[in-house]
Each structure stands twice: as C-alpha cells, then as structure tokens.
Assembly symmetry: C2
Homo-oligomer: 355 residues x 2
C-alpha cells in the first residue's frame, strides 16, 4: 500500500523534529514492509518567503491537494510577521482543506510525571476537539481613526451553524467511537453575548441526538481552571478556535509540556488531505541546538497513521515513545534529560524496531 | 473617618461569604476604632429580579454612585439567564463607573500548598490587571438567517485606544509602585489579526515611557501554559477582558482554588466607587450548605482597604487570613478541612483581633 505525504518541515526547530518524525515513519515501513510512504519535502517556510516574497507558490494549495496527508514541523521566524507566516500558510491550509477538526489529545504518557501534584495517568487522559476554520480567527474587522486618540479596532468573531454544527457532531461521534461518556463544551455565553449563546444552542441541538452521552457546558474561565483542578472529569472537550487553542497549550503544560503535544488538522470526510503537526512553534530560542523534543512530531505521525486507517501502526509508534519514556534513560532537556533531538528519535526508532 | 460601603450580597453562596466579609470589616473597626464603615445592604439579586422584573432599581447606578466603595458577593441563579443577571448588574457597574481595571492577585498564601508539584510561595506571586470595560465583552453583534442552515452569529470585539491605553498605563504604574520589574501582556496577534495587533501596538507605545520595566508580549495560549510551567516569570500581567478572565480563573486554580481568589474592579481616578468581589460565582451546587470558603471575600475586603488608602488595614486582614491558614486547623472543605463558612470567618476574625 502506498501513501503520498507532503512534508513541510518549516522553520526553527521544525526541520530538526521533522527529521525524527520521518525516521519513525521509516521504522514503520520496516516493521510492516507492505506499506510505503512516498515523501515529498516542500521548502515552504520563512526562508522561502525571503527568497520569493510569499510563503508558498501561488498554486501551493493545488499541489498539496493531491497528497494523502501533510506533515508540518513548525512555521515562524522572528523576522517575518505572523500575519504573513501564519495567514499565508497554516491557516489557508486548515481552511481550504476543510480541516475543521483540530484534534489534540491531552494524555499523560507512561513514564512521565505531571506537574500537577495529585494527578497521574488515570486523571489525565482526554481529547480536545478544536474548531479549526472560523470563529475568533476570522480575518474580518479593521480600524477607524488610526493615529488619533479616538482610534479603535474591531474584530468580528464569526460563527456559522454550518461550522459549529460539524465540529460538535464530530466531537460526539468521537466520544462514541472511543467509548467515552462525556462531551464538555467550552463557552462564555455569560460575557460574550452573541456568538457564544449561539454556540451553546447548537451544542444543545446536537446533543439531543446523543442521549447516551453526558454533556456539560462550562465557561472557558472555569474550564481552564478545571484542567488543573479536575482534569479527570473530561472525556472529549469541544471548543471554538480560540478557546481550543488556549485549552490545548494549557493541556500540554499539565501533561508535561509542549515538546510532547501532537495535533491533527482533520478533514473528517477525507475529501481533502489532513495535516499533522506538533502544537509547539518554531522556538527560535533553541533552534539549531539539537535539543528540541521530537516526541510531539512522532506522536503526530502516529495520529496520521490512525487517520489513514492504520491504528495498529499508530499504536506501534505511541508504544515506542512510551517505552523509551518508561525506561527513562534517553530524554531531551525539556523532560529532565540531556539527550539530543536525534538521540531521542533514535531511541524511539530502536524501541519500535524491537517490537 | 467614615466610609460608606454598598453591599450587594447577591445569590447562592454570595450572602454566606459576605456575612464573613462584614465580620472581618467590623474586626478592623474594633482594632482601629477611629475608622467606621457605614454599610448599606442592597438586596439586588436574582430574587429581586423575580419580584421586580429587573436586577436593580432603575436608578440603581445613581444610588451606588454616592458610595465610597461597593462589596459584591456573587450574582447568578439557575433560573435567571446570564444575559440578565450579568448584563443588568455586574457589567453595567463595571462600565458606568469606569472600573476599567480588574485587579486580581495570583499569590499562594502562606500555609497553602499549590497543586503544582514544584511551585511554592516564591514562584507564585504576581498580579493580573484585566481590562474591564470593553474588548470581547462588547454587546455588539447579532445573527443572520436564524433558523436556517445558513444561520450565523457575529460578535464584535471592540478595542479602543482610550480603553487599551488606560489599562496598560495602569499596569506599568502598578509594577512601578510595587517595585516589580516586568510587565507581560497577553496577546494573540498571530491568530486574531485586527484587534490583537492593535493591542500590541498600544502596549509597545506605552512601554516606551517605561524603559526601566522589562516587557514581554506572549500569546495567550503560551501564557496560559506558563501559568503552570513558569509562573515565577511574572510580576504584572496585563490582559484584555476575556484573556484576563481566563487567566485569573486559571491563576486561582494554581494557587489553591476559586475559594481563595479576590478581585477589585477599580476606578483608578476615584471619580466613581470601585467594587470588590470574590472571583468565584454563586455556586448553586453548594449554596445553603454553609461550606463555602469566605477567604476570597475577606481578601476582597482587604483590597478595598488598600484602595481606600489604608494599606495597614488591608495587610492586617491578609495577615489574619494567612495566620489561620498556617495554623492549619480551621479550613473549609475546598482546602482540605471540615470547617463551615462561619467557623472559617470566626477564626480569621479572632486572628485579626489578636494582632
Ligand atoms: C460572570 C462573568 C461575566 C464574569 C466575567 O467574565 O467577567 C466572571 O467570570 C468574572 O470573572 O467576574
Ligand atoms: C500559530 C498560531 C496561529 C496557531 C493557532 O493559534 O492556531 C498555533 O498556536 C496553533 O495552536 O496551532
């Protein structure tokens, strides 16, 4: 079986962690020798921008369209404004390919300790489903009276029934397919009085078709606090674009840090390629030092396997990661060790090959 | 010296915790017998709404206007929609009285353990300055195509130079007056591309007048994660209405919970009364049981003292709270004990009277 995978290693630590992600992918090929990944590396990043004045070719999205999946390392450099690197590469991919689900597991891996004193593997194991195409990241708005004391900026949050309903439906079917009992929605309808009450309404509508699932609507302030004080109450959390963004970085922190946190930008209908990326950024401060943790990327590769329908391979990768963490010998500095990025990747590959 | 204080005990646990706040206030009067607080209790809450069809009298704001300060317990009941209880009482007070600073200390009190394994008093001691009058809580927006598959809701976030500048200025002068070195602003200008870049610009403008202060602009996702992983880097954090709301509930969680978290809705110019309230809600689930923690309210009374210019009394109250926590005998259930709300309040009053 052949899959074509576009790889955008990106900037900063992106290429460093992606190298390990690709090693892990090759390890899978060696274990299951009937599967092949045809990799195409695309050099679309801030360096490309410096040379061409844009983040990707004009027909970049068309090029990507034909792949079975996309792997992204990290995008962003200090000398390129975010409104370019983010708005001309990551966000167009998420939107154009209707990757309306940003799937982010919050799971404390075996062998790791949570920074939360009283929480362990049993308490820290849930999934956040983040809306990924609309909401607070709308690109709509502007300024008036610039340069005067009366200057103001307006940003429109745009929530459509189409957009909200599809992501909430996904959250419910995910809970079902994972055999989990509870779907929690993040809201703020007490303070934000147009968009969030609408979000709540759609959530209640959709939940009516799932009487077997327990539902909660928590305000984002309380919900963020619960990620620290009561993470065990969550199975599947569904949140708007912004709320999901905040919750998942926070979730990453409570399970050991951004170096461990994977994500999938999923087009559930599989009409378009989905994109898998660590949720960390390009981390210019540690780029080039070879100390970035590749686990988030390798775990993202594992999520890609799941999405392509090969759950046993996804599990193989995750088992490989956990085995190395349980052994506890090879660890990058962010999780208390002295290993380099590639030592960490090699250890995981070895553990995969032993299986 | 006389001060007039309007007390809105509110709903649920509001009256329970407020009773202890008032006891603490009387204790201060007994220790410093030249000071007097003339208390006027206002029964504006969801019960008032049930009787009168509104949360406060038509001239409610006029009535409040003449007080030196306002104490609020908690507002909200399951049978009254938030858009009434919040939008017809709390938010109008915050706005009408230009309480544009919502001051929220994030400080681990002596005697308490943080849920964060590796963080103690030294790491958990900073202040969040939350914008309190505009931004994401704008009341502007609406819906189109209601009841059809094409339905959508738009919410306008409105950021004015006037509104952003005044709160950021306050954050810098607060850092100065506290002798702290660092002001951190919460942003999300990489994803939210009109309002947040504007916020960043104003932050940079204001910071230029304070070369002695170190500044950082962190995206809200990373910032929330740092509240867990690196809280020691913060001195003063300044955030928009929504971001400040989220960060302070999260901050409360990392220093032991909402039962401990106070706030001041401050009009720095003192043209209007400021309002002090615990950041927790009315908690209908535990209302009437007498087990709510009154510390957040008593600490809010302490902040009122500070604001009225009596820092030594504010300190007296805070010392009283900390002494009881260090003794560790009397504690409400949320912090691991079996004491009732009034036992906790009494213990704090006794400790104040011993000083
Ligand atoms: C009740 C609600 C609107 C309020 C807010 O978000 O401001 C509360 O959460 C708070 O923090 O004071
Ligand atoms: C780069 C940024 C716009 C992005 C986001 O907020 O979506 C990132 O934080 C993420 O979570 O993937």
């Amino acid at each position: 079986e052949h899959y074509s995978v576009a790889v955008i290693a990106g900037d900063g630590i992106g290429p460093e962690v992606m190298a390990e992600g690709l090693k892990a992918l090759q390890a899978v090929e060696r274990v299951h020798n009937w599967i092949r990944f045809d990799i195409r590396c695309l050099d679309w990043n801030c360096g490309y921008y410096a040379r061409h004045g844009r983040m990707m070719p004009d027909n970049g999205l068309e090029i990507l369209r034909d792949f079975d999946a996309i792997l992204l390392g990290a995008i962003g450099a200090p000398d390129v404004p975010d409104h370019i690197s983010v708005w001309e590469l990551i966000l167009p991919i998420r939107r154009r390919f209707h990757q309306y689900v940003n799937l982010r597991p919050i799971k404390l891996l075996k062998g790791l300790e949570s920074p939360l004193r009283h929480k362990g593997q049993a308490e820290l194991d849930f999934v956040v489903v983040r809306e990924n195409t609309e909401g607070e990241y709308s690109n709509m708005g502007g300024r008036l009276h610039a340069g005067t004391p009366y200057e103001l900026a307006i940003q429109n949050n745009v929530f459509t029934r189409f957009g909200v309903e599809r992501v909430i439906r996904y959250a419910f079917s995910l809970a079902q397919s994972l055999g989990r009992k509870r779907v929690t929605a993040a809201t703020k309808s007490n303070g934000i009085n147009h968009s969030m009450p609408f979000w709540d309404e759609v959530f209640r509508d959709v939940s009516r078709s799932h009487p077997e699932i327990r539902t909660d609507l928590f305000h984002i302030d309380a919900l963020a606090a619960y990620f620290v004080s009561r993470p065990e109450i969550f199975d599947v959390v569904v949140a708007s674009n912004l709320f999901g963004d905040i919750l998942t970085d926070l979730g990453a922190a409570v399970v050991g840090g951004l170096g461990l946190a994977p994500s999938g930008n999923i087009n559930p209908e599989r009409e378009y390629p989905s994109m898998f990326e660590p949720i960390h950024g390009s981390a210019p401060d540690i780029a080039g030092k070879g100390i970035a943790n590749p686990i988030a990327t390798i775990w993202s590769v594992s999520m890609m396997m799941d999405h392509l329908g090969h759950r046993e391979m996804g599990q193989l990768l995750l088992d490989g990661i956990e085995e190395v963490l349980v052994e506890g010998v090879v660890r990058t500095p962010d999780i208390g060790g002295r290993a380099t990025t590639s030592e960490m990747g090699d250890a995981i590959v070895n553990s995969i090959m032993r299986k």
